[in-house]
Symmetry: C2
Subunit: 191 residues, 2 copies
């Protein structure tokens, strides 16, 4: 195969979940759509220069992100998320008016990710001027491990909450698993 | 959302079969893996400068591709394929020693692709010095339409063949469709 096509396929295959076949398909599409391809290459080169916000680790073009700069946001509530996917998702729903802290990962001894890799010192510093920390983390081993670490780290000096577990709106009760139903019972609320 | 992230997601979404969610996932992966991302961008920029072989329309870095330049290849047999995926696939199997002609599409009046869009004049020219044309095209309406057009164009002056239809090696006979079985019967060969 031609070297430059082989190189392109090889590098596309590094994208998460992309195998040989998809990489080839994308590579050929890019070659056939050179205008779009050049735009993608240019946008990649611009985007890799994005920085992490000095305060909350959100992605931003300058030192501090728009959310942290926005005076209408409630700085006393910090929502801790694993990735900026969650931040972007929450922002697009317009349901939260506090600020964030992006961990860019979870503690996972199996994958060799420890507390020291997560920049938790900065979270601790931010927490000093806040009233509430919402731990919006996956209900997984890693998520719970990280949550527990943060709870221990903040040492009872601040209110720490997590999102409610229960029946998703509009779901058929019979399609839900035992654990979700159990949590929905435990956390039942008055009408 | 940050403009440069939005731009990257927007351009990644143009890739075939990539939706909003995958585009976001890839974009964030690229930002998090800036070394790989820069490599992808560089490889895209190199690959879009690939040319089409003057003889067979295969992709190549110079004017004529390696296959057409290879003196050990049988120039009297031309295998006509729709895309270079097929060419790459056949080449990786080492089962064919002739040359190719890449159509970069099939006649499809529904999609507004007509014979004039397929560079068939060059195929006609190449066919003059060949002994056999193998039409390795999909058994679809578009594939058959294109095959028939080529057969008419070459006007009985050359042997034209297509790959055999039948039972794939190792397949369970009972899992095959009626049409395949029918073709396997019709084209039965002596032991």
């Amino acid at each position: 195969m031609i070297k430059s096509l082989e190189n392109l396929i090889g590098s596309m295959k590094k994208l998460p979940g992309i195998g040989e076949k998809s990489a080839l398909r994308y590579a050929l599409w890019l070659i056939n759509n050179s205008q779009d391809a050049k735009e993608i290459a240019k946008n990649i080169e611009t985007a890799v220069n994005l920085k992490k916000c000095k305060i909350c680790r959100n992605l931003c073009e300058d030192d501090v992100c728009d959310i942290c700069l926005d005076s209408s946001r409630d700085k006393s509530t910090i929502c801790v998320v694993e990735t900026i996917e969650t931040l972007i998702n929450l922002e697009s729903q317009h349901i939260y008016n506090g600020v964030y802290f992006v961990l860019w990962g979870l503690i996972s001894p199996l994958e060799g990710i420890y507390a020291k890799d997560l920049d938790l010192d900065k979270l601790k510093e931010n927490a000093q001027s806040a009233k509430e920390i919402i731990l919006m983390l996956d209900d997984s081993i890693e998520g719970n491990l990280t949550a527990q670490y943060i709870i221990d780290m903040l040492d009872g000096n601040i209110k720490i909450t997590k999102p409610a577990s229960g029946i998703p709106v509009g779901y058929n009760i019979n399609s839900l698993d035992r654990l979700t139903l159990q949590k929905a019972f435990q956390n039942r609320i008055p009408y």
